[in-house]
Symmetry: C4
Subunit: 387 residues, 4 copies
Amino acid sequence: MNIELGLNKKVRRAYGIDEIALVPGKRTLDYDLTDPSWLIGDFKRDVPIVASAMDSVVDVNTAVELTKLGALGVINMEGIQTRYKNPDDVLNQIASVGKNDFVPLMQKIYSEPVKEELILQRINEIKEMGGIAAFSGTPQAALKFKETLNNSNIDLFFLQGTVVSTEHLGVEGKETLNIKELCQSMKVPVVAGNCVTYEVAKLLMKAGVAGLMVGIGPGAACTSRGVLGIGIPQATAIADCSLARDDYFKESGRYIPIIGDGGIVTGGDICKCLACGADAVMIGSPIAKSSNAPGKGFHWGMATPSPILPRGTRIEVGSTGSLERIIKGPALLDDGTHNLLGAIRTSMSTLGAKNIKEMQEVEIVIAPSLLTEGKVYQKAQQLGMGK
Amino acid sequence: MNIELGLNKKVRRAYGIDEIALVPGKRTLDYDLTDPSWLIGDFKRDVPIVASAMDSVVDVNTAVELTKLGALGVINMEGIQTRYKNPDDVLNQIASVGKNDFVPLMQKIYSEPVKEELILQRINEIKEMGGIAAFSGTPQAALKFKETLNNSNIDLFFLQGTVVSTEHLGVEGKETLNIKELCQSMKVPVVAGNCVTYEVAKLLMKAGVAGLMVGIGPGAACTSRGVLGIGIPQATAIADCSLARDDYFKESGRYIPIIGDGGIVTGGDICKCLACGADAVMIGSPIAKSSNAPGKGFHWGMATPSPILPRGTRIEVGSTGSLERIIKGPALLDDGTHNLLGAIRTSMSTLGAKNIKEMQEVEIVIAPSLLTEGKVYQKAQQLGMGK
Amino acid sequence: MNIELGLNKKVRRAYGIDEIALVPGKRTLDYDLTDPSWLIGDFKRDVPIVASAMDSVVDVNTAVELTKLGALGVINMEGIQTRYKNPDDVLNQIASVGKNDFVPLMQKIYSEPVKEELILQRINEIKEMGGIAAFSGTPQAALKFKETLNNSNIDLFFLQGTVVSTEHLGVEGKETLNIKELCQSMKVPVVAGNCVTYEVAKLLMKAGVAGLMVGIGPGAACTSRGVLGIGIPQATAIADCSLARDDYFKESGRYIPIIGDGGIVTGGDICKCLACGADAVMIGSPIAKSSNAPGKGFHWGMATPSPILPRGTRIEVGSTGSLERIIKGPALLDDGTHNLLGAIRTSMSTLGAKNIKEMQEVEIVIAPSLLTEGKVYQKAQQLGMGK
Amino acid sequence: MNIELGLNKKVRRAYGIDEIALVPGKRTLDYDLTDPSWLIGDFKRDVPIVASAMDSVVDVNTAVELTKLGALGVINMEGIQTRYKNPDDVLNQIASVGKNDFVPLMQKIYSEPVKEELILQRINEIKEMGGIAAFSGTPQAALKFKETLNNSNIDLFFLQGTVVSTEHLGVEGKETLNIKELCQSMKVPVVAGNCVTYEVAKLLMKAGVAGLMVGIGPGAACTSRGVLGIGIPQATAIADCSLARDDYFKESGRYIPIIGDGGIVTGGDICKCLACGADAVMIGSPIAKSSNAPGKGFHWGMATPSPILPRGTRIEVGSTGSLERIIKGPALLDDGTHNLLGAIRTSMSTLGAKNIKEMQEVEIVIAPSLLTEGKVYQKAQQLGMGK
C-alpha cells in the first residue's frame, strides 16, 4: 500500500505473469531427478495440470485421457454435456457460427435446462472408462444438485464462480450457499474458487475446501476484467494466496493446494505460476488446442452464455496436435505449447528444483522485457514467442 | 512529489483507468441488493450515467429516453440542435464526409450562430415529453444566455469548458465569468467542469456548484491532450477531486457529486471510476453507439469546430443496439459495451458494495497487465477485450 | 541514482515527453494575455520556435518567411544549399529515390564539397529579403569557415554536433575546436549543442555560448540512439539543462536560453518541453510538412550522409499546409500539427501562464497513459492522436 | 529485493537493454583515440565481437574471415558442420522449408550423429587458412569429445548450455561434467556459459574458466524464455556478472572477460552491453545477415532441434551485405546493423571512453522511451529504428 493512486487512496502494485522471470540459481539438476507430482484430495497426480471445466476443453473422453496422462480434467456440470444428450451438433454449431452471431447463439444454447440424468450419465461414463470424475458447478448449481452428486460416483467437486466468498449476502428469503456446510455435507472433496486475495483464500481454507482456484478474469476467452473492471494479475494473486496456504498449514496441519487458474498460454507461464507459489495450474485454451478437444479448434468463456451480461468471447485456437503431445510431447512446435510437462520438468531441472515445493522457492525477478528483448524478428514474423 | 523528472523538478505519478484493477473483498452480494442510485441537484437517478453534452450523443429524443431509463442526458446549448432548426441534414453531412474534409466542414457548420429561440424550443420539447432538461454551455455562452435560461423551463445547467477555474484573468474591459455569481444567479443548479485537481475542485465547490465534471482530454474523440499537452489520467484525477468532495462535505455539510468525464469505453471503465471516488460518470462514445443516437454511428469531439485550433476528431463507433440495450441490457455483445447498468451492479455485487459509497471504498491495485494478461488470442483476433 | 540496474550500477530514471502531462492550476487566462516571446542573442522572437538546420526544413525562402512569422530558421552551412548552386535537382532526387537506395544516394550527394562562395551567397540572399541569417556548422566546419563567417553578414551561428563538449580530446597534431575561443572570436552570438546534462550545459555556458540546444537523438528522422545507444529522453534532459541555466544566471547574470531540440511532433510536445524548462524548441519534421519546405514532403536526418556510419533515415511527412498555417494557423487539422503558436498560447492560457517563465513553472505529472487513455478508436482508425 | 511481488515474495527489478541509455559526459574524444580491443585467453582481438556458435552464423570460411577482421567466430561442435561432410545441401533445405514444417525437419537433420573426424577436419581447415579455431560444445559433448579436442589443433573451447552451473546434480551412476576438472584437463582455455547471476559467475571463475558468456534466452531466434519462463534481461545480467568479474579479479588477479550473449540487434545494443560491464559481445543474427553466412538469409536457435522440447525458431534475417561491411563498414544502412565496429568506436568517442574499461564506466540511465521518443514516422513507415 505504498503507491499514491490519488490523494485519497494508497494502493499496491500487482504483477502479471508476463512481467516476471525465473532466475537460475547455483545448482542445476538432471531432468530425470525432477518430480512435479502433487496431491489433490487423495489423488496423487504426476502432472500439475488441471484442464478447465469449460465446454471447449473437457468432455468424457478427454477427462479419461487426462486421467491416464497423469493430469486431471474437470467437466462443467452446467454445460453442454449435461444439457444435451448428444452434444456434438451443438458443438458444431458453435464452431461454425460467425463472430457477430456468437453471443445470441450461446445465450440460446445455454437456455436449455441442465438435466440431472445427464450429470449422472457423464459421471458414470468417466468412471467406466477408468477416469477420475471431477465436475464443477456454480454456487447455485451446488445448492440444486448436491443430493444428486452425493448419490453419484463423483470423485471431486469443483465449486466455481467468477468470484466466491465465504460471506455472501443474499436477498432475504432466498437460499444462499454456505461453503462450510457444503464442504461438510459433500461426500467428496470440494475444490473452490476463484479468489485472488490472502484473506478470502484463508477463509475458504477454514471453511474446509480441499483445493483453491486462484485467478479472476485472466482466461484467454474471458472478458470479465473488461466488463467489470475486476481482478488481480496472476503473479501477485498466486503469491498472496500461497502465503495463505502456508500460514493455514502451520495453523492446521492441512495442506490445501493452490491451483493457478487462467492467463496461461505456454509452458513458461505454467512454470512462472508454480514459482509464484502454485501447486498446479488449471488451463483451458492450451488444452482446447488438442485435436481431440470438444471445442473443435475453438474455445469460449464460461460467462459468455449469460442471458443479461455475457463476459466471455469465442476465440479460434486451432488444433495443433494430440492431447498426449500437448501434455507429454514430444513437441513439434517451438513456442512452448507442446509438451507442457517437458517444459515444467526442463524448467525445474534448469532451476535446480527437485519438486514443486522447491519450484515454489526459486528466485523471481520483475522483468517486463523478458519476452520482448531481442525478439524483434519473431514479433515481426509472428513466429515462436512472437505469435 | 517523490519522483525526480529532472534536477529542477519533483513530480508525482498519475494513473489512468487502464492501469488499475478492482479487488474483490471477503464479502459478495446478491445482484438485487445493489443500489447504484445517486443524487444530482434534487434529481435522484437510478443509473449513475450522464450522457455527454455532445452533438453525436444527445438530442431531444435521447435526452427524454435517458431520463426514462433512470439516467440523464445533457444537450449542448451551443451545438447543432440550437444552431439549426432541422439538424438532421447537418448530421447526415457529418456522417458522410471523408476524413480529410471533416475539420473544414465542422468549422463551417459551427459558424452558424446559436439561436436563443432554438434553445428555448429544445428545452420545451424535452419538458413536454417528460424529460429532465439539462443543457450545457461554455463560460462565454453562460454569460450570453444566462437570462434566457433563467426565463426557461431548464432543470439543470452544466457549465463546461475544457478547463474551468474560479480565477480567470481576462483582458481588461472584457467581461469574464464569475462562477460564484453564476451559481447564485441561476435559478437551477449549476454543474461545472472540467477540472482535475483537488485545489480547483474545492474552489469550485466553494463557489457553489452542484456537481463537478472531472477529466481533461481523455474523451474518445478528443485530441486536446495531444494538441496542448494538458491533462491528468482519470484514476488519479477522480481520486484527487473525490477527496476535495469529502473534505468539503465535512466542512460545509454539502455533498457535491463527482462525475468522471471521459476515457470511458466499457462497463469496467465505469466501475473503476466509481471505485476511484466518482459518484457517476459522463460518457459520450458508448452512448453514441446506440442506434437512436444523433451521431448516426459517428462521434466527434466538441473542441473540433474551433475555427483556429481544432482539438477533436471524428471517430466511427457504429450502431450496436438500442439505447435501452446499452444502458439496461440484455447484452448481445461480450465486450462490456451493452448493459452498462448490469455491469455496474454485477461489479458491485462481486465486490460486495451495496451502494455507490461502498463502491468508492473497494480496494484498488495498480495492475497494468489487467487487460492484457492471457488475452493474446482476443488481441490477435480483435475480439472481446482485444477490440 | 536510486535505481539498481545491477549489483555494480546505481542509475537514474529519465523521462521522455510522451511520459508526462501538464496540470492546470487554479488560475486560467485569456488567450490574449499570453506572451510566448523569447530572446536569442539580441533578437526578440514572438514565436518560441526555431526551424532545424536540416536540408529538408530550411532554405533561403523559408528562413525569410520564418523570420517574418516571428520565428527563426537555421540553414545548414554544410548542406545541399552550400554544396550546390541549384539545389532543386538534388532535392528532387532525394524525394524520388526508393527507400533501399536512399543511403548510398545521400552519401554521394554529400560528397560534393561545401563552397565558401555559396555560404556567403545564401547569407546575402537572406539578408536582402529581410530575414535573420542564422547558420549552423559542425565543430570541423566552424574551424574551417570561421573567418569566412566573420567577414559575412551572418546574424547567428549555431555550432551543432550530435554531442558537443568543452573538453574534446583530439589526436595529437590535429587542430581541435576550443568552444570558448570560438565564442570570443566570432562576431555574432554562438548557439551551441547538442547536450543533455547539467554539467555539460554549465560548461558550455561558461564557455560563452548564447544559447543551448538540448537533445541527443530524439529527432524524427534520426537513428543515432539506435546506432550508438546514446541519449537521454527529452523531458529529463531539458529539465536538467534548465537548472544549469538558472544556476548560471544566478552566478553570472547572463540568461542563456535553452532550446529543446528533437522528438517534437505536435503542439502538445512543444508545450511539454517549455514546461520542463525550455525557452524555445527547435523542430524539424513539423516544419518539413509545410508545402514550401525544401524537403518536398520528405525529411531526413543530418547524420545520414556519413560515408562510414549513417545515423539518420528518410521519412515521408507529406505536405499538409503552408508554413504560415503550421506556425500561426488557422488549423485545418485536428492533430496538433497546424497552428503551433496557437497551441502554445492556448496551453498557456489554460495553464494560467502569462509568459515562458511562468510556463516553465507549471505542474508536471508522470502520466504514461496521457496519450492512450480512452483513445482506442483514434488508434484503431489512425485519426487525431492515433496517427 | 525491494519490490513486493506478493505477500510471500520480495523481488528485484531487472532491466533489458531496450530500457537503458548511455549518457555523454563532459569529455569527448577523436574517433582515432578509441581502442575497443580485448583479450580472450591469450588472443588479443581488436573487435569486441564474437560470432555465435550457431549453424546459421559460423562455418569454416566465416570463422577465418572473422579472425582476419579482428573479431572471433565460434563453430558449433555439435552442429551441421560436424554432422555432415557436405553441409550445403542441408543448409539449403533449412532455408527453403515452410514455417510449419521447420521443427520436424530440424529434429530430423540433427538426429544425424556428430562425427569425430569432422570435428578434427573443421579444426584443421580453419587452422590451415589462418583462423582461430574456436569450437563450442554442450556439457555432454565436452565429456564425450574432450580427448579428441585435446589431440587437435583447437585454440579455444566454449562450453555452452542454455544454463550451466558448477553444481549439477546428476542421476546416480551417470557421469556428470565437473567444470573445474574440465578447465584443468583441457589444453586450451575454456570459455563457459551461459549464466546470469553474480553467484554462478563467481563460481565458474573460481572453477577456472577463461571467459564467461552471459545471457539466458534473449537470442533473436531463441524461445527458451517463453517455453521455460527463465532468464534475466541482459542489462541487469551483465551488470551483475561484471561485478563478479571485478570482485574475482581483486581476489585472484585473474581478469575473466564477460561476453554479453544474446538480444543484440544493433550497434547501439552492443554499446549498451559494454557500458553495463561486458568486455565483448557474442552475436548471432547480426552476423547471419552477412551475404557469406551459412544460414543463407535465415537464422535459427540452437535449442530448436531438441527431439522432445524445441526452444528456438527460424527467423528470416535477409542478406544485407558482406561480413566485412557488417563488422567494419562502410555502412550502407542507417539502422545500426552495418559497421558495428564503427558504431562501437563512434559511441566510445562520443562518450569520451578511450577503451573498454572506460566504456564500462560511462553513465547509464533507465530510459524506456529512448527508442520510441519522436520516432512515430520511423515506426509507421518501418524505417531506421522502426524496422
